[in-house]
């Protein structure tokens, strides 16, 4: 797990430290606090910085290996920052039945990335997802946490273009 986090300005390091400390403080008293803490960190920073592992492990009386093991187990947790916009395309059966694979090929070409990659300009990260619960209006995708259904290549292009405009 390599991280390019907070190597820049001291402001970013401070921001990260503050977010990590607050996430720990907000959830350390609950039962089974690790996932809530990790979610809180990622909600704030967009990923789990490497330095969070030691801090969380220390606060929750876990080994760093345990924390790392949890981060790497779950698809949601990222060890590195994503692009500014997260595009998650459903690739499960219901969406496959109405052309999600063709849509994925279109998305790869349009964004010039493969699944699990971030575009060179850092604007888009493309991830597959296995069911978004919109199976009666497939194909579906999630853009920055918002669900879209009946997604055609044309609709995909419109939505992506709108995000590019207000980047």
């Amino acid at each position: 797990m390599s991280s390019t986090s907070s190597s820049g300005a001291g402001g970013a390091v401070d921001r990260d430290h503050k977010a990590i400390a607050e996430a720990i403080e907000a959830h350390r008293e609950c039962e089974g606090p690790l996932l809530p803490v990790l979610h809180a960190i990622q909600d704030r920073l967009g990923y789990i910085p490497r330095e969070a592992i030691a801090a969380v492990a220390h606060a929750l009386n876990l080994s760093r290996a345990e924390v790392h093991g949890v981060i790497s187990f779950y698809h949601d947790f990222r060890a590195e920052p994503a692009g500014r916009h997260m595009v998650r395309l459903c690739q499960a059966e219901a969406c496959q039945s109405v052309g999600s694979e063709a849509l994925a090929a279109h998305a790869r070409a349009r964004l010039r990335v493969d699944f699990h990659q971030t575009s060179a300009d850092g604007v888009f990260t493309l991830e597959p997802v296995y069911c978004l619960g919109g199976c009666a209006c497939s194909p579906t995708m999630m853009l920055d946490g918002r669900l879209y259904g009946r997604v055609t290549p044309e609709r995909f292009d419109r939505l992506v273009a709108a995000l590019e405009r207000d980047k």
Binding site: G32, H75, D76, F77, A94, V129, Y130, C131, G133, A136
Partner: protein, 518 residues
């Protein structure tokens, strides 16, 4: 003029533009000087008609759909606020055949009420069951659930009352109630619709379960792919708490139950109950060995009731109308109703709650209207990624747990995904193995290694490499996974693979008889 209009805030409705429609209605109403009270309801489940807008009229609610923001001006000029004519007018919502012919018990309020209004919930029969439960002993509540015949709706179909009884009898001061809302099966969305459309039903059902078994604390483990559901449910928990229906001193009874939502993190395996417990405890979602059963040693080693959203949300109607009322629906040992979800390549996708016993054909054609593409439906997967692929010759099988087991399938969580005749079933079998490889927790070898080997063998078959021998190898591998895996992921991935091979051998390039000979 004055009117009440309804625009769903259900994720599927939002996914096809409900938010934009709601804003257009507010804008247009303001510009015209109309007073419109806009209620953001759940979805009626007629997803192909979403965004479905309704208005309240003296005759009942009138539906319009699917509405785009561009249609809104025309709706106003057509007088839709009083149910006026428009090309999108569908008449009285309750009279739409798709809805009218359903038997809505668990979904009775979904799409009708404001999901986070405690008083609206109460006005539609909410909290009656909880009041009844508070007047009953734990054993009496458990007995009612046993008598209702309610079985776990998450997929395994274990009798809920028996599970609750086990927790009641398990020694220990601290017990938990956990709701599995990690609805990861493709083609399923009924849990999401309850959480977004009638969250108090889930809260009430879990509270009743807690009263029955003596639990003071509970968790809802909700998948992270459902952010809209998470927002709604957090509001619902807060609203129920301030109304005194949850938390300390429930309805003045002196009893308490504290409920908390926990977000999953994108692991399908955490829908398996013991992996979910590990995840709630803050660990990797690795499957546990059973025994011990979670009912005896569950969350943090304490006796734990684990049920799915639909199971808990079905509890209030049983405690309100009686076990017999519920048990009078259904067939055989499958009592009550199941909210089926029509998905994939289907013309009228959505939610159909019916008593057990309806056939697949009725659901696919009478409700679903056939495929969306207009081509013949060739295969249907029932019960999620671990469910069998069924050919047309099995469409008359009644949806009943035992009838599906008899044909090598499973009803599971009631998801039904249709595929037209352009589907490549060898590709679908490959996908089943691939999905298992991606989502395996890695604890047992048949699942962890078998799924990857499965993808490779299917690739060889598809490339025509020693087809017959590789088909036999695939069958062997399926046997090993079926019998040697620790949980349903590895143990049931063979269902879609074997059924595809059995019913659609031509897609694997092997003659039917030869494929079956192994």
């Amino acid at each position: 003029m004055n009117a009440t209009a309804y625009v769903p805030s259900d994720a599927a409705a939002l996914a096809v533009g409900a938010e934009e429609v709601a804003r257009a209605i507010q804008r247009t109403a303001a510009a015209r000087g109309d007073e419109v009270q806009l209620v953001r309801n759940g979805s009626r489940g007629l997803v192909w008609l979403e965004p479905l807008v309704e208005v309240a009229t003296p005759a009942g609610r009138i539906a319009y759909g699917p509405v785009t923001p561009e249609d809104v001006a025309g709706l106003f000029t057509g007088g839709f606020l009083s149910g006026g004519a428009h090309a999108l007018r569908l008449g009285l919502t309750e009279e739409i055949p798709y809805l009218k012919r359903q038997e809505r018990l668990t979904f009775a309020r979904v799409g009708i009420i404001d999901p986070v209004s405690v008083s609206d919930y109460e006005a539609h029969g909410g909290w009656r069951a909880l009041r009844n439960a508070l007047a009953m002993g734990g054993a009496e509540i458990v007995e009612a659930i046993v008598q209702s015949g309610l079985r776990g709706r998450g997929g395994a179909a274990f009798p809920a009352g028996i599970k609750w009884r086990t927790v009641v009898n398990a020694p220990g001061e601290i017990k938990y109630v956990v709701c599995n809302a990690d609805e990861g099966d493709s083609g399923t969305f009924s849990d999401r619709m309850i959480v977004e459309g009638d969250p108090f039903a889930l809260i009430e059902g879990m509270t009743i379960s807690a009263l029955a078994v003596g639990a003071k604390r509970g968790y809802v483990y909700l998948r992270s792919e459902y952010p809209d559901a998470e927002r709604t449910f957090r509001s619902a928990i807060a609203a129920a708490r301030s109304a005194g229906c949850l938390g300390e001193d429930i309805l003045g009874s002196g009893r308490s139950f504290h409920l908390e939502l926990r977000r999953g993190a994108g692991a399908y395996i955490c829908g398996e109950e013991t992996a979910m417990l590990e995840s709630l405890e803050g660990k990797r979602g690795m499957v546990r060995f059973k025994p011990p059963l979670p009912a005896i040693e569950g969350l943090f080693g304490k006796p734990t009731v684990i049920n799915n959203v639909i199971t808990f949300a079905s509890v209030p109607i049983i405690l309100d109308k009686g076990a017999k009322y519920y048990a009078d629906f259904g067939m055989g040992r499958s009592r009550g109703t199941l909210p089926f979800q029509l998905a994939g390549n289907i013309k009228r996708g959505g939610l159909v709650e019916k008593a057990f016993g309806i056939t697949l054909r009725e659901l696919l054609y009478d409700y679903g209207g056939g495929s969306a593409s207009g081509r013949p439906i060739r295969a249907v997967q029932v019960g999620g990624p671990l469910g069998a692929y069924l050919p047309e010759s099995q469409f008359d099988t009644p949806l009943d747990y035992e009838a599906f087991t008899a044909i090598g399938g499973m009803v599971g969580h009631g998801g039904i995904v249709a595929f037209d005749d352009t589907v490549d079933m060898a590709q679908m079998a490959r996908y089943a193995m691939e999905f298992c490889a991606i989502e395996s927790c890695g604890k047992c070898t048949p699942c962890r290694i078998g799924s990857t080997r499965g993808v490779e063998v299917i690739d060889r078959i598809r490339q025509g490499e020693r087809r017959q021998a590789n088909v036999e190898l695939l069958r062997d591998l399926c046997e090993t996974m079926l019998h040697g895996s620790l949980c349903a992921l590895g143990g049931m991935t063979p269902f879609p693979v074997r059924s595809a091979l059995e019913h659609f051998p031509e897609d694997f390039g092997v003659p039917g008889k030869a494929a079956r000979a192994a």
